[in-house]
Symmetry: C2
Subunit: 357 residues, 2 copies
């Protein structure tokens, strides 16, 4: 009987060391320990047999060839900020982290694209794009810690997903190293390609199971106009849900429309030391970001959304139109997972998804 997977022997370790160099291969317990778990929590930790840190596509190809030859499982890993266990090496073997492949290779103003390596921190891409006058819209809640490669692997969403879609909507092209070391180039600096199977979008969200993404071409958007944030407490969950589907149908330019329930708000409120108005009475909150080309349009659209919320039973509508108020309001949404983890490191979190009906 053949074993399903091989073990990482001294010989395999030597192959990896000679392919990548010793700075790029970790096999000691303490060095590997951080790669044994992600934000799912330490109770799901599995120690790999070796951690490799390729610096470029050729390094990744070498690792994949060695892994295939010896039947060693490879788990792709990036910032390990995921909450679904995707970066945990369940079958041990090799953890391949893209953290050293972290260059922003190009911002192309003509095609309105950026080309990056997978280990780039998402917020770094956002900053570089913003300096050139563009928005990289594929930023999830974990934008300050997660990587573009990790966002691609998980098809990460984020608050702006309502307007711009999840990560998949921003990925125009991918370079992928397949098991065995072959390199595929999928898509490119074009937005309307419709030939053949949509393999690019199959790789997005595949959590590294189909191959290792080594290069990413993303779409950049023009910068949005002025924004304002509305925080709206509702006495019941039902009212908040009913308001949501009507707000979405208003035709107002929304950048976000996030739902928060009372237990999450109460917990996070203590953690970030910022109290939401009516948080003891409101079963649910909506946190809505409205965009307007100018002050006047913005004000009118905020009024539209606000009035609709009142019609649906909102206790009050708070508008934050400056940066510090806005940051305070968002801090509750952004720190929920962390507040939860601090309270109970063994809590298993994840996204819940239900149709509006």
């Amino acid at each position: 009987m053949t074993r399903e997977y091989g073990a990482v022997t001294r010989e395999i370790l030597d192959e990896l060391l000679s392919a990548l160099g010793k700075n790029r291969v970790l096999s000691d317990h303490d060095g590997m320990e951080p790669y044994s778990w992600d934000e799912t929590g330490k109770n799901f930790a599995v120690l790999p047999e070796v951690v490799v840190k390729p610096g470029n596509t050729e390094d990744v190809r070498a690792v994949m060839r060695i892994a295939q030859k010896h039947r060693i499982p490879v788990t792709a890993s990036a910032a390990r900020s995921g909450v679904a266990g995707g970066a945990i090496p369940l079958r041990r073997g090799i953890v391949l982290t893209t953290e050293k492949m972290n260059r922003i290779l190009e911002v192309d103003p003509v095609n309105r694209t950026a080309t990056v390596e997978p280990g780039v921190i998402t917020n770094d891409l956002c900053k570089v794009a913003a300096e050139k006058g563009y928005l990289y819209a594929g930023s999830p809640m974990s934008t300050f810690t997660s990587t573009v490669g990790g966002n691609v692997a998980t098809n990460a969403g984020g608050a702006k997903g309502i307007r711009y879609g999840s990560t998949r909507a921003h990925v125009l092209g991918l370079e992928v190293v397949l098991p065995g070391g072959d390199v595929l180039s999928l898509g490119g600096k074009i937005r309307k390609g419709t030939w053949g199977y949509d393999l690019k979008d199959l790789v997005v969200g595949s959590e590294g199971t189909l191959g290792i993404v080594t290069k990413i071409v993303v779409n950049l958007e023009p910068m949005p106009g002025r924004t304002a944030d509305l925080l709206v407490p509702f006495r019941t969950i039902g009212e908040a849900v009913a308001a949501t589907s009507k707000i979405l149908a208003l035709g107002v330019s929304l950048l976000s429309c996030e739902y928060l329930d009372q237990p999450s708000v109460l917990l996070t409120s203590r953690y970030v030391k910022y109290v939401y108005p009516f948080q003891d009475e409101a079963e649910a909150f909506l946190l809505i970001q409205v965009e307007g080309k100018d002050e006047e349009t913005l004000e009118r659209d905020c009024d539209k959304v606000g009035n609709l919320c009142y019609d649906e039973g909102a206790i009050e509508v708070f508008v934050a139109d400056n940066r510090s108020d806005s940051a305070d309001i968002w801090s509750v949404r952004q720190n929920y997972a962390e507040a939860l983890r601090v309270k109970d490191p063994y809590f298993v979190s994840g996204d819940v998804l239900v149709p509006l009906s």
Copy 2:
């Protein structure tokens, strides 16, 4: 040696007849002839051995089971308005047309979705959605003839693709009958699902090669605001291309930005009997649809786009802000393929896609 594909024998025909009934099975030459070609032109015609017209998912399952049992190739067919030969039964066998599965099953205002069968004419869905105050944004140039199923099969684009994306961006859920008759339900009335492989989007654009789509859940958008159309002749192709990338970066709400070259305009102009200004001097035209929430915003954004075009060397900027002018301008773009076909029925057409750079 086993044959790769079987032939449709009398026995197989009887099986199809007893599964579907005789109104749903065609095997005479004249009846089948229209199913032997699409807009690629008659010179690529291949006559199928039998044409089946299932009325529902169970019918499709029956056909796929019979086909698999006897190893008969199945080619999916809908309005046959495609220009890439996807509906031509290259290996003969069964043509399965979805034309009888043409019901709009539901418009759901809470989830802002519509559920349709694949044979619904795209424009019929647009109309029903519009009556309820929504936009179905996945309509290609062939909107009056093509079906939603055909749009899904080809991931059809269309002029509004620049704002709303190609068909894939509008498909939330699919019911697919696989070869052999199993039914898959992929996605649903949700917009942010990120678990598992993205099989829904793999089926979109697969031209019926992975299975037969029997039900489609699409996203509906709020209705756009007022629109105006700009027709802009440029003396050189280079100027038009340079202007395009700058227009896209303006941040103005664009519904379309179509490029037309002089030979296409001259040819179609004769066919639709509408003359574009400067069509003898302009190497290229841009046809731009701008959206504004109100008259004032629209006017200002049209000015922005117009001024930019002048800066890039436009000969003139024409603005059509009423329906009949707009229809005339668009008629040239919409009838190009037909004008070409009338001039030369053997011309092979297709979309050309190049990066802006």
